[in-house]
């Protein structure tokens, strides 16, 4: 207990092995089924989107339809690297850290380290369909082959015309899709439609589809999630990584909440940390009637503490579309940015990781975002506090110490039950405590 405060105070330098707690595990996005991942790079009215999918079916059946505010030129479209998504996911995952109680019989002593764990990342695609050509008030504004994708940019006058066009051109879109397409046509948006070019796909030698990236300029800072709901079965998860120059990103038309963090958990949670996080996330979603967006991480891209994965390099950030890294820095923070790129330096890039579970009923509108002026770092971080492995008879202080450990374990059990909705009795058993404290009524024994 005391050790935490001391460790944090001493361990200032940003070295992954020397922090306020050692990183022992993470809960990354491959935990969640039906999870799409999107990287949104935003600065001023310029946006670069990278869409990641873990599409498992036949490449011929793959299709993507996404509204875009303008007709994109070929140079505005790019094929990304799946590994960078993985890195970004690892870097920003909710994390578990651990501390070790010092020997109560001695004065403070430094702690020992714990091994790291390796995880991977995945996600699903967006809307679904596939293509060829003809009219119905639909205009093919542009047509490109980029990487393994054949891309057409469409504009349409009527949503039913667009629906028919897509169906006749081989895109398997669900009947009634025009209702979801209509609002975008009315707002004069274009449609970015991609399918797999089999020849290119085979030539790439990859057994998966790489992320599609595109850049555009528009005051709209939003993600069209409604389109993906047409053929969705049940709730979907979306992880958004927003990269900005200056501050945290939040949704403006839904509540953005920070996931509970900094809580002490019982030791036995360590091997099942991912189950814990899944249960906690579900409880948060339920408590908010599936109407909120959750922040899992906000940090300057230059460092981390503790690190669940290394920060992205300049080159990796640039490949995601962070276009302002080479621009000369001005303003009050100019000096800061010249610091060492990693391992302690600041970067002119803030990463916000948002996690949302949505359904058609609870999210009637597309997600709209804003970049706030908030520069405060935040991370979903959970703490294991290992008791000292000694004997209660070791010294006079030890007996008292173990009494405190019991109390602490009981508190941790209650925290865990509160966060996950798991049964407190079961948790107490796992912790090795018999009495569930809340079960003792105050009036028991009153008149004994």
């Amino acid at each position: 207990m005391l050790a935490i405060a001391v460790a944090c105070a001493i361990a200032r330098p940003p070295d992954a092995r020397a922090f306020c707690g050692f990183y022992v595990g993470k809960a990354d996005s491959n935990l969640f089924n039906h999870a799409s991942q999107v990287v949104m790079v935003r600065n001023g009215d310029k946006t670069v989107l990278s869409l990641m999918n873990d599409y498992q079916g036949e490449p011929t059946d793959f299709a993507l339809v996404i509204p875009v505010p303008e007709v994109l030129q070929k140079e505005q479209i790019h094929i990304g690297n799946r590994e960078i998504f993985k890195k970004l996911d690892e870097y920003s995952s909710p994390r578990l850290v651990e501390y070790f109680d010092p020997d109560p019989c001695e004065v403070m002593r430094p702690m020992a380290a714990a091994p790291m764990m390796e995880m991977s990342a995945r996600g699903t695609g967006y809307g679904v369909t596939r293509a060829e050509k003809r009219s119905y008030g639909v205009t093919i504004e542009a047509q490109y082959t980029v990487g393994e994708y054949d891309i057409v940019i469409l504009s349409a006058k009527q949503s039913d015309g667009l629906e028919t066009w897509l169906q006749e051109n081989g895109y398997k879109i669900p009947l009634g899709a025009h209702r979801a397409l209509e609002p975008y046509i009315r707002q004069d948006m274009k449609f970015f439609v991609a399918k797999v070019n089999l020849k290119e796909h085979q030539a790439s030698g990859l057994d998966y589809l790489r992320p599609i990236q595109f850049a555009f300029q528009s005051p709209k800072f939003m993600l069209p999630i409604r389109l993906g709901m047409i053929n969705a079965q049940g709730p979907q998860d979306l992880v958004v990584y927003a990269l900005t120059e200056n501050g945290r990103v939040e949704t403006t038309n839904y509540r953005t909440e920070k996931i509970p963090t900094g809580e002490n958990l019982p030791e036995y949670v360590q091997p099942k940390f991912q189950d814990f996080y899944k249960a906690m996330f579900k409880k948060q979603v339920d408590d908010n009637a599936m109407k909120a967006v959750f922040t899992e991480y906000v940090w300057n891209m230059g460092w981390c503490d503790p690190c669940a994965g290394p920060p992205l390099s300049r080159e990796e950030l640039k490949s995601l579309g962070v276009f302002w890294l080479d621009e000369p820095q001005a303003g009050p923070n100019a000096m800061l940015y010249r610091g060492p790129a990693f391992g302690g330096g600041q970067m002119p890039v803030t990463l916000t990781r948002l996690h949302v579970r949505y359904s058609a009923d609870t999210f009637p509108e597309d997600l709209a975002f804003q970049v706030t002026a908030d520069k405060e770092n935040y991370q979903a971080r959970y703490v294991l506090q290992h008791p000292w492995k000694g004997s209660p008879e070791a010294c006079s202080a030890a007996g008292n110490y173990f009494k405190q450990v019991r109390e602490r374990e009981s508190r941790e059990a209650q925290t865990l039950a509160g966060l996950t909705g798991w049964d407190l009795g079961g948790i107490m058993k796992n912790v090795g405590l018999t009495e569930v404290p809340s079960q003792k009524q105050w009036w028991k024994g009153l008149w004994d």
Partner: protein, 310 residues
């Protein structure tokens, strides 16, 4: 037995304390409840220190303002409402944004007074001052969530406060114009009606309608001018939000249209609003009204006189 407990006869007549004649007391209660709910039930990302500093700065600035305008009534109620409004709206990643915004808001009442009436609703001024000039300040339009219960409470309590106010007309006309525009947009875009419901069940809209635009100290004195003002604010807010895809349309609209209020007052003269002691004032004691932050107001004869003028 029961009769004893639930006796119909009252041993004494139930009467509100005299202070309740001032609608600001209700506003303070309402905004206080809202702040408490927001801070505890919703993650309002607001620190206790920020709240304390906001109140301290607002009250200190108000005390200082008494020196600037000795003729003004010595009341801290308006300053408290401003402080509550700022803590409800403004967010910052540091401790000094809130007190700076609160001081600027209160001082604006004494310093920016064309036609002997302060120009800006103090909370609006404070928020805009912070967003435009102070680093690390922002407004979270989505912080309220769409919780039906919360919105229901806001409507219920907001209406409660507003119906006591003779100048609630501006709240209703603003809502009519703005919600009307939202309602037209839904079928135009071919969206589902759930979208409108989602947009209406928003704490920010109700807070703005019942506590900001309805501020009787900064809205036009004449009823006709208030209707025009409400339409203009609604039009700008809507265009800001859905034409330019920018945020906080309502706050910007109120801020940008405030300088037109003196023009409306000159065009259609009517007595200025008074917070308290209605019915006892004669003619236009144009200095007696006090500066306010968000909101609406009261059963005062100023309002009655407005009607007559209209």
């Amino acid at each position: 037995m029961c009769a004893r407990f639930f006796s119909v006869e009252r041993p004494y007549s139930w009467k509100l304390p005299a202070a309740f004649g001032d609608p600001r007391i209700f506003q303070i209660l309402f905004l206080g409840i809202l702040l408490a709910a927001g801070a505890w039930l919703r993650d309002f990302s607001l620190s206790t220190a920020q709240i304390i500093l906001t109140f301290t700065a607002a009250i200190t600035a108000q005390g200082f303002s008494f020196g600037l305008r000795p003729e003004a009534p010595r009341s801290y109620r308006s300053a408290i409402i401003t402080a509550l409004s700022l803590t409800l709206l403004l967010r910052a990643d540091n401790l000094w944004v809130h007190p700076m915004a609160a001081s600027a808001a209160i001082l604006s009442k004494s310093l920016i007074r064309p036609r002997a009436k302060h120009l800006f609703n103090p909370a609006t001024f404070g928020v805009m001052f912070a967003m435009l000039l102070l680093p690390g300040a922002w407004v979270s339009p989505g912080q309220w969530g769409q919780d039906v219960a919360l919105a229901g409470w806001m409507i219920a309590l907001g209406a409660f406060v507003a119906t006591r106010a003779r100048r609630a007309d501006i709240s209703w006309s603003f809502l009519a114009f703005y919600v009307g525009a939202l309602a037209l947009r839904v079928p135009y875009l071919g969206q589902r009606w759930a979208v409108l419901e989602h947009q209406l069940l928003n704490g920010a809209l109700l807070l703005f309608a019942f506590f900001m635009i309805s501020d009787p100290m900064t809205s036009p004195n004449h009823a006709r001018a208030r209707a025009i003002h409400a339409a203009l604010v609604a039009a700008i807010a809507f265009t800001w939000q859905f034409g330019f895809y920018a945020h906080n349309g309502m706050l910007w609209a109120l801020f940008l249209t405030a300088p037109m209020v003196p023009m409306w007052d000159a065009l259609w003269p009517a007595p200025k609003y008074q917070w308290t002691k209605l019915g006892k004032q004669v003619g236009g004691n144009h200095e007696q009204g006090e500066a306010e932050v968000m909101d609406s107001d009261a059963r005062d004869s100023g309002g009655v006189r407005d009607r007559a003028a209209a």
